[in-house]
């Protein structure tokens, strides 16, 4: 339980193949191991590796619904760079990420801190905060779409009691991304909260007590002991939330359909439309490759940052 706390520099640990100890079942019958991996391996080859290779290949062709295609090298990519819709969707995705990530990390950290401080009914409250996580983003989107509704919505009814509004949360360029970000944060914060709570509980009590005796204020203890101690977990949460923000689609599809006028038209939305509305499979695949590189860069930057912490 204390791994993270004792070793603040613990990098993202990845599972490694376990060395097999001699005697029992070694190369005598190598085929046994192969037989046991075979079903999963076949699934991976067909439905993970083949599509991964296929994505690269498709992005270099003009593959169409008819199945006809020609090799067009990097034309899809040059087209992407000039496509205003691509610029727009990239901007929307970035803006959404800049709203969603701080929001969800603050809510997760806030609730984790509250749970850590208040012992009363901790299990119950932990369960309540985790509840939205087990539901689907579609359900969250359907409920919140109604909450935000300009005419019959719950939020405007409440605001109406204090003579504010009505505000068209999903119908205005200025509020649509923030409104969707709140919905996604509500749906998903329970997961990050649990991870942060585990990190908080692993901070050695003696550090905090020593600081307290030295007269450090609560803020100082939080800033100079808790935060550095939970840094690896905090980074982990930041990265998974950033990656999930770049893949946003479901909530926008259900709540706004990308509108108003593409104000919530994300990168994955463009990918989906290019593929399944315009059947421009080559172009859609190129967007997918871009998405892959964005996610890869985020992961690498994170490893760099955490790695520097090790020194």
């Amino acid at each position: 339980m204390t791994q993270v706390g004792v070793d603040p520099s613990s990098p993202v640990r990845r599972p490694r193949p376990v060395p097999v100890r001699g005697r029992y079942g070694p190369r005598r019958r190598a085929w046994v191991g192969l037989v046991f991996v075979a079903p999963m391996l076949a699934l991976f080859l067909a439905f993970r590796f083949l599509p991964a290779v296929g994505a690269v290949w498709l992005s270099l062709t003009d593959y169409r619904l008819s199945g006809r295609w020609e090799f067009i090298a990097f034309d899809n990519y040059t087209r992407l760079l000039q496509d205003e819709l691509f610029h727009q969707s990239l901007l929307v995705t970035l803006t959404y990420t800049l709203i969603f990530v701080p929001l969800t990390v603050l809510i997760s950290l806030g609730t984790a801190l509250l749970l850590q401080q208040v012992v009363w009914q901790r299990g119950f409250f932990r369960g309540v905060f985790f509840l939205p996580y087990v539901t689907s983003i579609v359900l969250a989107a359907v409920i919140w779409k109604w909450i935000y509704d300009a005419q019959d919505g719950l939020l405007n009814a409440v605001l109406g009691l204090v003579s504010i509004g009505p505000i068209d949360f999903l119908g205005s360029d200025n509020s649509v991304l923030a409104s969707i970000a709140v919905t996604s944060a509500w749906k998903g914060f329970g997961y990050s909260m649990l991870i942060l709570l585990a990190g908080l509980q692993a901070v050695p009590k003696s550090y905090l007590e020593a600081a307290m005796i030295d007269g450090a204020s609560a803020w100082q203890r939080f800033r100079y002991i808790t935060i550095p101690q939970i840094r690896p977990v905090l980074f982990f949460v930041l990265v998974i939330e950033t990656i999930s923000a770049f893949q946003v689609f479901d909530a926008m599809y259900v709540m706004t359909g990308g509108g108003p006028v593409r104000a919530s038209y994300s990168l994955v939305y463009l990918l989906y439309d290019s593929g399944f509305k315009f059947f421009d499979f080559g172009y859609a695949s190129a967007i997918g490759i871009m998405l892959f590189f964005i996610v890869l860069v985020i992961s690498l930057v994170q490893r760099r940052l955490v790695g520097r912490d090790d020194d």
Binding site: P39, L41, L43, A46, A52, V142, K145, K205
Partner: protein
């Protein structure tokens, strides 16, 4: 755990710090109150959903929904008869349950091989499995769809279920768990003349039951809540899952009370899983957080 609420008071700035380490009597109540309020805000959307689902079908949803005397099942009966919810429920259940069974079986087999067997290409395969975690699902959405259409599996259970069985997280989790089992166990069984399949089904599977239970819950929830893949593959109304059905329902001119009734129906299995097995879920996330 030491209760920090009982610590002696120290000097601190009033506003920002009070949310961290309370010590004065007022502060002792502040945090639990804040916690309770946050909890209320968290469940409020669910409560609103249920209230609207039971409200009288005609008229305003607010504040009508808050008069319990007028509650009715009418929205449920209407939405059940006018939409394909029963069929979507069957599809969602098939998608989730069949996937759970085969993901657990195949992942346990692969996990067992990676943990306890030696065979050519083991390391390479393992790293290749690991690498697929880096590829976002959406990045390969188009080629996956083309592959499914080439197999003529679009709009079929095969197309819906089979590709989602390639689950690397499941393999890693079970490999981790199985590698902790003592080798002596397998040696003893082998000396007793047990066949490889017997060892797997009678020794490995029962011993990893706790991991299978936790993983099973997660796989169920992933599939039950999944949206993009069922949206792309289930093209006719007959092949849609509940999430896709719900999304299409709210684009049609269905009254909000009925949409909320439908939404309430979709959330029941998730809530059942949550109510019965919450501890498994939260504990395993806590563990994964520590490992990360």
């Amino acid at each position: 755990m030491v209760n920090l609420l009982d610590r002696p008071s120290t000097r601190r700035t009033p506003s920002s710090s009070s949310s961290l380490k309370p010590s004065r009597p007022v502060a002792r109540l502040t945090l639990p109150t804040l916690l309770a309020l946050t909890a209320i805000v968290t469940v409020l959307p669910f409560v609103a959903m249920v209230l609207v689902a039971f409200a009288p079908p005609s008229g305003q949803t607010f504040p009508d929904a808050f008069y319990p005397t007028r509650w009715t099942f009418e929205n449920f009966t209407r939405v059940l008869s006018s939409s394909d919810i029963p069929r979507w429920t069957v599809n969602s259940l098939l998608y989730s349950l069949v996937s759970v069974v085969f993901v657990l079986l195949f992942a346990a087999m692969a996990g067992y091989a990676f943990a306890k067997k030696r065979f050519p290409g083991r390391e390479l395969m393992f790293w290749a499995f690991l690498a697929t975690l880096m590829v976002p699902f959406q990045a390969t959405l188009i080629p996956s769809y083309i592959l499914i259409s080439r197999l003529d599996w679009v709009d079929s259970y095969w197309g819906l279920i089979v590709p989602t069985l390639a689950n690397s997280q499941a393999v890693f989790l079970l490999r981790q768990f199985i590698s902790q089992l003592p080798d002596e166990l397998f040696e003893a069984a082998e000396i007793d003349g047990a066949s490889e399949w017997k060892i797997f089904t009678l020794i490995v599977m029962p011993l990893i039951r706790p991991a299978l239970a936790t993983l099973g819950i997660f796989v169920f929830l992933w599939h039950w809540n999944d949206f993009l893949w069922p949206l792309v593959i289930g093209q006719s109304a007959n092949m849609q899952t509940l999430t896709v059905g719900l999304a299409t329902l709210q684009t049609q001119s269905v009254p909000i009370n009925q949409i909320m009734a439908g939404a309430t129906i979709t959330v029941i299995p998730s809530l059942l899983v949550f109510g019965l097995l919450q501890r498994y879920l939260t504990d395993s996330i806590t563990m994964s957080g520590l490992k990360s």
